[in-house]
């Protein structure tokens, strides 16, 4: 759930290509209930956003024709996924550390982050990633928190703004503080009821949770907190 569709579907591709004619096969893409799925979003985020109210396994449709140029980025090789993943990591570090930590690392460390993700090797990944989760002892947290807030069916794909984890008085900002600041509708009840849920990795964290803690412990491998605002399930 923390990886990307095009990174984990080699077997799917091979399976379907066995029964297709060579000339019919062009770039693979995925869709759920009519919505093309963005391969450059982590799979867990896609599930939270589009299907969190359904039971696993998640059934999605595979396509090899009619690539939706207006909706999806192309993904012609693993290099594209690696470049995207590394760009997210770099952007996250620009926010957390003004890029100091990522720039001090050697190319082989960057490669190790990617290989750890690609080969699903937790220890390999965290040996490097732990440095991206540190901060100077005189500070209480990162400079800004890398996060994106998603809501299905809006034109704008996500909300991303500068947000400090520590208030000027030194108190830790919470998830609730973040939402109040950048997406108040997510935590405002309508007619006395909450119409939406706030979800990260398939769970609803308490709004009192310090955002610094969430960033250190519940970020995706790209070092971003991907937060979904979804309708309350009606059952």
């Amino acid at each position: 759930m923390i990886s990307y569709l095009t990174l984990v579907t080699d077997k799917v591709k091979k399976h379907f290509q066995k029964v297709m004619r060579q000339e019919e096969v062009s770039e693979i893409w995925f869709e759920y209930e009519g919505t093309p799925l963005k391969w450059h979003y982590p799979i867990g985020l896609l599930f939270d956003l589009h299907a969190s109210n359904t039971a696993l396994p998640w059934s999605i449709t595979v396509h090899f024709k009619n690539f939706p140029e207006k909706d999806l980025l192309h993904c012609h090789s693993k290099d594209v996924i690696e470049a995207h993943f590394m760009a997210c990591i770099k952007e996250a570090d620009a926010l957390k550390h003004k890029s100091q930590v990522i720039n001090e690392m050697q190319k082989k460390d960057h490669k190790q982050l990617w290989m750890g993700l690609q080969n699903d090797k937790f220890e390999q990944f965290w040996a490097i990633n732990r440095k991206l989760m540190e901060y100077p002892p005189e500070d209480s947290g990162f400079r800004y928190i890398p996060f994106r807030i998603y809501q299905a069916a809006t034109e704008r794909p996500f909300i991303q703004k500068l947000f400090r984890p520590i208030a000027s008085g030194g108190q830790l900002h919470t998830l609730g503080d973040l939402l109040k600041d950048v997406c108040p509708s997510a935590i405002t009840p309508e007619d006395g009821e909450m119409k939406t849920q706030v979800m990260i990795h398939g769970i609803e964290p308490m709004l009192e949770t310090p955002i610094q803690w969430l960033s250190e412990h519940m970020s995706y491998p790209d070092n971003f907190l991907h937060i979904s605002i979804i309708p309350q399930p009606t059952d």
Partner: protein, 184 residues
Amino acid sequence: MKDFADGYLSKTHFQVTNRNVPPDLKEKNKDNIEQMLFMHVEESLDDSQVDGVCATAEVIRYEYHVLYSNSYQVPVLYFRACFLDGRPLTLDEIWKSVHACYQARLLEGPWDTITQQEHPLLGQPFFVLHPCRTNEFMSSVLITSQKENRCTNYITSWLSIVGPVVGLNLSLSYAKLASEQMLI
């Protein structure tokens, strides 16, 4: 640089093989953000005029957006290009269309690379000139202009450096405007 988080500048430009058609400049600001020094260029070409031109030539429609990256605190150039029938250019075709004099520099450990990314406000695929090294080359521009006591518009200077790499050329009238008006 003030933050214009929710808006972007946009410009559409038709290019007929080797001939540059004068651009039609629009400003699309969703919020009422500060005025930028982009002005409507006098000769403009609207969509209907393009048809007459393209009988035997290939016409490519370029669309450029300038956005601001909060994360890197610099402007970023997004663009997309398609043929008149709507077919979008591939990354390869984009690379090939980069002016010959920039090709070598781009290929040898470039200071900015072009990749495809999701537009942060529209959600659609665009090509992007990466912002990582912007501060490096912009700081020398700013230091020099301070020393010479010149008025510089950051966006105009930045765009005049990165724009030509991807076919976006600024007319000199922008520079004249910058020196006549107040810095933002």
